[in-house]
Amino acid sequence: MMLTLIILIPLLAGALAFSVKGEGVKGLALVSSLITLGVSCWASCNAYTEPFSFSVPWIPSLGTHFALLADGMSTMLCLLTAIVLPVVIITNWNKTVDKPWAFYGFMLLSQAGLLGVFLASDALLFYFFWELALIPVYFLCSRWGGERRIPVTFKFFVYTFVGSLMMLAGIIYLASQTSGPDAYSWNSIVKAGSALPLQTQQVVFWLIFIAFAIKMPIFPFHTWQPDTYEQSPTPVTIVLSALMVKMGLYAVLRWLFPVLPQGVAYWSDTVVILSIIGIVYASFLAIVQTDIKRLVAYSSIAHMGLMSAAAFSSSNVGMHGIMVQMFNHGINITGMWLVVSMIENRWGTRDMTKLGGMANVAPKMAIALVIISLANIALPLTNGFVGEFMLFNGLFSGASPYHITFMVIAGLGVILGAIYTLNMVQKTAYGETAEMVIAKDITANEYVGLFIIIGIILLLGVYPKPLLDMTAGIAKILVP
């Protein structure tokens, strides 16, 4: 029952937010997100020792249940979602948005969808939440985004919707192969899917994988991403890049690997190659960007590429690494966007060629930028290092005959990552001091947000054990 609360609180608060007129809605959003955080912490603690679940029949004639499962991986991602949202709300406390009630209402609704995706253990319920997370984001980007927001967001929506529909076809097909009263439960789907012949598994694999590949995004399906990140308002960009792309990766781990093992094995090399192309391609593109937001967007493609490459290299270390890295990447990229939005706010531009000298005029902000950037390129003592180390370990011990080649080329991504990230740090923090529009260093509320993020970065960099323990053993369940 407590599990339902995790989803119910943001859902109800989101619906309620629309009726609050005025700035008071921020308080509501903050309170709701903090309660969600509390409940998520509780769930994580409980799932730490033993996974637990909740299930009531939903549409009996179809065999669907309102079934939620909390294990280490899902509660970890819930925790990430629950941490990111209050941080976003706190750091944006002083900013005024047009129609705040709708803005925060949609934010909370999309949080409910995300939490639902991470917890659902019924395929139809999973699909429901998958879409519930998307629709509010569509409205958020289209209403509060940049100049080219309408066509860009529409492209994003159509891309992901096509993917979702293909996934729906796959889910329905799998459910039609099951028997018994709980056709859509994770267990039935896994049983039915893994019993299919290879030929069928391949077809179903692509039907389902396309949705996840678009969401992550993996190389040829990524074209919606930089534009959408750039045009969205920063809080939404954070939701998209820190949380929503994790949906894709999470879904691969939960709903693809165990369900279609042979199909995955057959196509894994192809996906790894696509991911690695994505890493190198996005890294090179990131190097030539002058807009910081686009740079971070491309760097995100590169990081997600590495995670998906490790995922499809089918080794347990890699799987464990991805779970850890999903959390770390979510934290790091949130910090990155926060700093980027502060820069945009203070200097009135995101163009790196017009920025510089932050260390002189806003030293605290510069320190935050440096720490977060270092975490982003996975330096030891930051959380990024632990995850990335495990990912490379996973790639190296992969089952594919080309695993060494894969690892070496993917390793290029790290070097290129250092180039574009440090280049950005240099151009914004040092050099000639550019004129600020608002001459202010970090304000109190931004300080709180960045403190949380940097605290987690350093803490997990030095002592990653809780995170590792939390997700230990899950890989074995997913890929026996």
Partner: protein, 460 residues
Amino acid sequence: MKAIIAATIFGILLMFVSLMMKDKKAIASLAVVALFVLFGVNLWDLIQSPAGSSQTYFNNMLNVSYYGQLFNTLMTGCTLLYALLVSKEIQKVGAHVAEYFALIFFILVGVYLLSSYNNLLMLFLGIEIMSIPQYILAGSDKRNLKSSEASLKYFLMGAFSTGILLMGITLLYGATGSFSLAGLSFLQANTINAMAVAGILFIMMALGFKVSAAPMHMWTPDVYDGAPTPFTAYMATVVKAAAFIAFMQLFRFSFGNVSNTWMMVLAVITAITLFVGNITAVFQQSVKRMLAYSSIAQAGFMLFAVLASNTAAANHGMLIYAVAYSVGTIGIFTVLMKLKDYTYDGFNGLAQKEPLLAFVATIFLLSLAGIPLTGGFMAKYYVVMAAVQQGNLMWLVIFALLMAAVSVYYYFRVIIAMYFKQGDAELSSEVTGGDKFMLILTCLLVILLGVAPQLFLAGI
């Protein structure tokens, strides 16, 4: 059975009411009350008959099943909802309000026959009783040339398709010596002859015309566009659903044994319907015309229920689709009627002016596009599931889902216009508190259908 009698009596009574009452508002209220009573009668019929039962009337001419009664009840409910939402607009169409409502009652008689016919003659009668009032309603705005054109076009095309239907029935009679569905179900795959196949295909063409399946859809955009909007809303929803249930029952129960003769033809018709409906809708400038094409596209999905051989899944799918599509379409047409300009630009900035109207329109459009949490999703879900269980229709399912993605384009164009474009959406009439209440109710119904569809499938 009581419902058929009640609907007929109400229809006849309403025709005479216009002699005594001149107040349009009073007549409309009377009709709504009559519809309410009719809904109650249907419910009474439904409760009295145990689930899964069926009873025959008129020497086996009618076979009233529980499923058919559930369909009747739901469609009468939709008609009631429709009357409550648009009775004001119906009063604006012309002077003969009592006749318009009387014709709607006669259409309902046709709907009831189509859900329970047990004989091809009853099928023919049902279709005619349902169609002839529609020809009149399409032309009811007598001063408008487009309305007259729509009526004439509809009548000529309808008469033509009726001829084809009769031809098909005749050929089948020649082949089997029977008009009754039970007699037809003796058709076997190994003994079927060319005459019977031709008969089946002729009937398929005629029914395809009624449900506006491509390539028999040509009349739809012109008629839907030309007819007065309140009546378009009705033609596109309840009437179409009734034609579908007739289609489904005939092909499933009587021609099920010989599905190898018509299955592929119908699958291709479905694919063409989906393609033509969705792709053409993209290029429309008028929302009303777009909705006409979207109704063709939605018909493509409903054809899945005819194609699917799994009875339970298809039966569920047909009902849910009929209700979800009807409620959603009636809702969006109601919003459309409140606007002066039927083009996309006419919707610009509606969210600023009438936030509630824009919100409910968004829900209806999301439902038509098939987004989860709305009835439209569950409807698509059920029919797609029925088709997937068929096994060999996976190609059609994937094609249909891709086409559903196309449909997002034209449905969302309206949402974009309402919320993200600047403009001054002019209203044709004021949105009263009663309108708002009904629209919110409709909206809740759409969401209820999306969350708990089993409530509408009680007993089957």
